[in-house]
């Protein structure tokens, strides 16, 4: 066993390999490991955030669902009310219309009756005049007769 310059040679080799490792080997490996650690941390964070988002979204969706249900109920309610109103209105209108028709018909009937009465009166008057003429067998003053006849007709 001799101690010799191998010690120096080994020291030089050692220094070289440490330098090489420091320059070209260690930094890239550490960089990659760090980058991966960061990526994993980011991923975990993102998962956390997504979970929170999911909870929020679920809350919001149930809330919206509730609102929508309420709205729908309100709409149905008001629609029902409106329908009842429309039916009522229609019924009212129909009734009014019917009354009006009845009233119109009544009025027409009255008119007809009046007209019939008038005609009847006129004919009765004419008959009376013709009868009277025949009875008197002479022509009476037309104008005086007219007046008398119309008076008579209105009294009938």
């Amino acid at each position: 066993m001799n101690l010799n310059a191998t010690i120096i040679g080994q020291s030089i080799a050692f220094a070289f390999f440490v330098w090489f490792c420091m320059k070209f080997v260690w930094p890239p490996i550490v960089a990659i490991l760090e980058e991966r650690a960061n990526k994993i941390a980011e991923g975990l964070q993102a998962a956390d955030r997504a979970e929170q988002d999911l909870v929020l979204a679920q809350e919001r969706s149930t809330e919206q669902m509730k609102e929508a249900k309420q709205e729908a109920a309100a709409i149905i309610d008001s629609a029902n009310k409106r329908a009842a109103q429309i039916v009522d209105e229609a019924r009212e209108q129909a009734r009014e219309e019917g009354q009006r028709i009845i009233a119109g018909a009544n009025a027409e009937i009255e008119q007809e009756i009046n007209r019939a009465k008038q005609q009847l009166r006129e004919q009765v008057a004419a008959l009376a005049v013709a009868g009277a003429e025949k009875i008197l067998e002479k022509s009476v003053d037309q104008a005086a007769n007219e007046e008398m006849l119309s008076k008579l007709a209105s009294e009938l």
Binding site: N4, T6, V18, W26
Partner: protein
């Protein structure tokens, strides 16, 4: 598997084991540069010689380490890797290193991560060479060199020079960062004024300095001792004929633990020592 087959004269068991544990040393002998042909020649070369086998294995494994990591990095994805892939392996190692640093290192230093990663993976790979059957790598080296007697020590961490190379580098880093963070006065003050205050400076030095100097020595010797002993047992097992197969398996399984444990320990202690260098205590 015994290398006795390709030796010209029959080897004794001691020769076989010590041949495998002798480095291929290149240095200056008798005024010319050459490989040492015996441990004695290697000793004669003195300090200015180099263990070619340890350095070659060390650098090859280091290149394999950065090459593999660089290759995987080019096709790394931010998305989690699917199924069995090298990206998984590398991420696991890097995360283990990051965790160790997070738990034990409380200052901020750009270098501590790459340093710990390099120490762990590189030493792990060097240690793992002892799981390769003991004759394969030497045989390959001998074939390439065309010398069937060539020494080749396949596990770099069984060479004290290699483990000391690590430990001394770490030691200098400890001194560098101690002075950088605490100043020269603060750094030296830790030896002089602790634990008994300023009136017992010699006693303090006596207590603190050995502990400080023991750090690199214990780092280097722990790793070297574990693998020198482990490799010796692998070599002894390799001498046992067919009995080596179950025994080698058992010892190798146990050594899978030792390989990773010693690599982890070296990394951990480096992190702890450097943490101490960064903090006042």
């Amino acid at each position: 598997m015994a290398s006795a087959e390709h030796a010209e004269t029959p080897q004794t068991a001691t020769e076989y084991v010590s041949h495998h544990l002798t480095n291929l040393t290149f240095g200056k002998i008798d005024d010319h540069w050459a490989f040492a042909h015996s441990p004695e020649e290697a000793a004669e070369m003195g300090f200015w010689a180099i263990n070619v086998d340890s350095m070659l294995m060390s650098v090859l494994l280091g290149v394999l380490f950065v090459g593999l990591f660089k290759f995987v990095i080019t096709r790394m994805t931010v998305e989690a890797p699917k199924g069995k892939s090298w990206q998984n392996v590398i991420e696991m190692i890097v995360e283990m290193v990051q965790d160790s640093i997070k738990n034990s290192f409380h200052a901020r230093n750009e270098m501590i991560g790459p340093l710990a990663l390099t120490i762990f993976v590189w030493i792990f790979m060097m240690n793992a060479m002892d799981l390769v059957p003991v004759d394969w790598i030497p045989l390959l080296a001998q074939t390439v060199m065309g010398d069937s007697h060539a020494y080749f020590r396949a596990v770099p961490t069984t060479d004290l020079n290699i483990t000391l190379g690590f430990a001394v580098s770490v030691f200098f880093l400890i001194i560098f960062y101690s002075i950088k963070v605490k100043g020269l006065g603060g750094f030296l003050g830790e030896f002089a004024f602790q634990p008994f205050g300023k009136y017992a400076i010699p006693l303090n030095l006596l207590l603190e300095l050995p502990g400080f100097l023991a750090k690199p020595v214990s780092l280097a010797l722990r790793l070297y001792g574990n693998f020198f002993a482990g490799e010796t047992i692998f070599l002894v097992i390799a001498l046992l004929g067919y009995w080596q197969l179950p025994l080698h398996f058992g010892w190798a399984v146990f050594h899978i633990l030792v390989v990773s444990l010693q690599a982890y320990l070296f990394m951990m202690l480096t992190i702890v020592y450097l943490d101490q260098a960064h903090t006042d205590h």
